[in-house]
């Protein structure tokens, strides 16, 4: 386990930027900033003509660290402790579950809670509890 320091100010500022992006996307396109929905709809079947905009949004997400490195000269530490097997299983479950439940941390957690959606509250409480239970089993039951 890698210990990390408590960063309330940076986390609050970063969170506010995530919120700003969600508000801007609603203002611009009238759609919820849910990353799982946006990413999943880059694959067929296609139900509308928003492909290019979704691809541009995802390209922005991927380009963010490149821009941060260009401007500040470095990137914050990123520690990925999981090995390939855990990454594959974790990725499959994350992709399947977020689409099956119509949303992830951004769509249900940020946008849904802000809209006072009961469905999103149920989803958010469930994935937080499942995430906490999983980490508990992985770290404290072995």
């Amino acid at each position: 386990m890698v210990s990390t320091s408590f960063t309330p100010i940076a986390s609050l500022v970063g969170g506010a930027m995530i919120g700003l992006a969600a508000v801007l996307l609603m203002w611009a396109t009238g759609r919820i900033a849910g990353v799982s929905g946006i990413a999943a709809r880059l694959f067929p079947p296609y139900e509308d003509r928003e492909f290019a905009g979704r691809l541009a949004f995802v390209a922005g997400l991927v380009a963010a660290p490149v821009l941060v490195r260009l401007v500040t000269g470095s990137l914050p530490v990123q520690t990925i402790a999981a090995g390939p097997a855990v990454l594959i299983v974790g990725g499959l479950l994350t992709g399947f579950g977020s689409v099956w439940g119509s949303g992830c941390t951004s769509g249900h957690g940020v946008c849904g809670l802000s809209r006072l959606s009961v469905r999103s509250l149920v989803a958010t409480v469930t994935f937080m509890a499942a995430g906490m239970a999983t980490v508990f089993v992985m770290r404290h039951w072995s």
Binding site: F6, G14, T29, R31, G91, S102, G112, F127, A130, T134
Partner: protein, 155 residues
Amino acid sequence: MAILVQFVIGLIFGIGLIVSGMANPAKVLNFLDVGGIPAGTWDASLAFVMGGAVAVTFIGFSRVLKLARPFFADRFYLPTRRDIDPRIVAGPAIFGIGWGLAGFCPGPALTALGFGSVSAVIFVAAMCAGMVLARFVAHLPSLTRLVTPADPLET
């Protein structure tokens, strides 16, 4: 123009993920590790990410949704479902297990690609496979009779 704006919005979202610490799986896992509270290793930072994001979005949405229409679209596409069906619990439960295993949820995983790590590529490839599989299963004719279809507007 609308495409460029969506790129910039994705960029702001991604920078927010990096600044907040969400792009670092170690930080995410230490937040989810409530069993680490007695030992003092619990990292509560991510509660502040959610707090900051929800505060701005709550205020921003209430203003934006008073507009007649979005800037680049003819109307707002908001989810309308209110019922609690099995999928709204089963999906997030499965997602939460994946999140707890690797420390990535979909947004930070995509942003992690830009850090240039092979691990992020592996995770995102598997995540996309899981997404395609979920959409495929949901569209199976035998299942559409048994399972309520997802709200297409809900993310």
